[in-house]
Symmetry: C2
Subunit: 439 residues, 2 copies
Amino acid sequence: MIKMNQTEPRTLAGFMELLPNEQILFEQMKQTIENTYQKFGFLPLDTPIIELSEVLLAKAGGETEKQIYRFNKGETDLSLRFDLTVPLSKYVAKNYGNLSFPFRRYQVGKVYRGERTQKGRFREFYQCDIDVIGDGELDIINDAELPSIIYTIFKELGFDNFTICINNRKILNGLFESLGQKENSVEILRVIDKIDKIGKEAVIEELTKLKVEKTEIETIMNFIAIDGTSDEKIEKLENLGIENEVYAKGVEELKQVVKNIRLFGVPDNNFKVDLTIARGLDYYTGTVYETFLNDYREVGSVCSGGRYENLAEYYTDKKLPGVGISIGLTRLFYKLNELNLIKAEQKSVSQVLIIPMLEDLEQPIKLATELRKLGVNTEVYLNDKKLKAKFKYADKLKIPYVVVIGENEIATNMANIKNMETGEEKKVKLEASEICKNV
Amino acid sequence: MIKMNQTEPRTLAGFMELLPNEQILFEQMKQTIENTYQKFGFLPLDTPIIELSEVLLAKAGGETEKQIYRFNKGETDLSLRFDLTVPLSKYVAKNYGNLSFPFRRYQVGKVYRGERTQKGRFREFYQCDIDVIGDGELDIINDAELPSIIYTIFKELGFDNFTICINNRKILNGLFESLGQKENSVEILRVIDKIDKIGKEAVIEELTKLKVEKTEIETIMNFIAIDGTSDEKIEKLENLGIENEVYAKGVEELKQVVKNIRLFGVPDNNFKVDLTIARGLDYYTGTVYETFLNDYREVGSVCSGGRYENLAEYYTDKKLPGVGISIGLTRLFYKLNELNLIKAEQKSVSQVLIIPMLEDLEQPIKLATELRKLGVNTEVYLNDKKLKAKFKYADKLKIPYVVVIGENEIATNMANIKNMETGEEKKVKLEASEICKNV
């Protein structure tokens, strides 16, 4: 009941706010991603959430600009960041002289987009990005390292059956260029993408209507018919008879990436060349990635990214090619949680709850301090409640072990460690090192 | 040089944006604080940065409201959070039925205040908060646990000479109540606070002008003359002859807190009763804390907090007493960094940089993968540069160990680990486990 002088406590639609048990799972996913980025030596970055609109929107336009949280504070026109890439561009352009290249950075932070609110869509959400930025140039081998980082993360998150799909934007661009159909490429792609629905013949018919010539249609149909293993696809691309520099470069890059991905230890089970992905994104100019959980395709791509020719052209003349990936953590968490797929090692923060059942708290508190020094997260239940209520607290917080300390435990210097999941109790010496061994 | 179609890449004044080497230090401080909060079993919380103005400003007013980042998105009146306490109040009121009490939560996040920009003042800054919220009541012993968490954090951050100052709001409130000077308390305090500047006699004179009676002035002067150890101060407070319930309760609480702080392992060197602190904050109703680095008093309090009677009265009728502390991390980092006082264990993300000097990268990449599995953050220098440039990169990133792998290293299965700080090299077998042992 809200009284006259009270406000109803509510959270904005499209803004995730979790209960503690779920927040613990979220934090573990975030930590896994961050730890993996660090394992590969990426440097942390933390840019402001608010930027000058003029700076943040130097490039933006259209759909994106409409979604921006933009406002004035005093005379200043401000916006909330809508991704982590634009702030990175600004940062690298601004600090160019103080950075070492290749500049490898990770950033995990909230971004804001005023999308139409609907289930599973968020207006405030975490992005977890890494990018490798070269000064002038950046070897193609970097494009092969990133999939190995995606691989490591999703293995760590407990998944086996996922596929990192890889393509190269230059292939399709070069194909259309070679056919003299650069201008019509969007329309042609729209038709091609309907093939599963309308069938091969109907696609040919529609392409004919678009005034694509017969030999060109043949090439296109041969292209979209390409199948097989990643290596077979590359071989077929090479033998398609397309003479175009951009196309050839794209195929060569894709070949390099596939070869090197294996060096980085990604099994063939977990990646494949997929010539259909990331067709729509103009931002990328070379390698592109999308990642799918094969048993849950409906989740969509869980990690996407690619290569771009020039990170910061809106801020600087320096040519800064890069390659990066991004995980939309908030949406990913929401979906996985909904599907009950989050395999977290720990369901609680505390590993041990010490329940004192005596006046003098000296021993229980000392024990907790010792346990913490041994690296065990430990809470002492400090409030005066019945034993039953204290156990209920441990249960609700999913704390795995409870140690009750009363007069008897002090007198005998022995205590029971109760495993809250199995109900088993084990009697041990009332010493931190002994308890530590048993939790 | 910025061209016509380019925007100058710049960051708003009052918004901290660090270079990688500093960001690494910042992240370690943040991690130390978070880890310590977790060690004591506090649950993570992550609330939105944007809230409905009506909800966020249910209580606010005056100075705070002027500093708020407030704006409309469509028809909705929104504000950015200016602390983590109001969102906590909302959260607890909203989720009351789903929380276990005492509810112990930590939150580390950015908050926003449009303060006048000046050196060392930030408009976007991290707060690192913990609070313990009781349902209806909360034992005083919780007030003694928090200083032990402050103590643990600043020890972990490498400080020894710091003091957690403790007071209780009820003491001064009760004193003024007993003197019948509740209404004049602000003015009387203003006079008292000048004692170091103007001297005892002048204070008495000014109090007389305020029409405080002679016996009352005597009590006040006795009160502010209280000195000695924490225990002596408490004894003197008890013997001041003030008969007032609130005063007596305050002294008793303070006594309890001091007694129990010792149980929690805080040495007498690192805390003291200080009757002068937190006089201005109306928010707190009992115990109050401020923490000072004694060699750097100019930094101000590095961790403050206290006890409040009712967390969420603007949202709910439930009585929710609590006690909490907050570290203003951004400002603290800024000040410590300026004073060169940040004692970070690691100056780089990567522990090892592998420098391949051959065509075939299989071995270097495999080695890196193995090292990562052993928990060693490892980067492979992937771009084609001269050896000197690669070493310079390791140097600038402060990576402590470098392993060069060329044809010779592969042939002999031996490699040198170079310690970048000392310049020493050590020849070991070219195996992850061997390298791991030596870094």
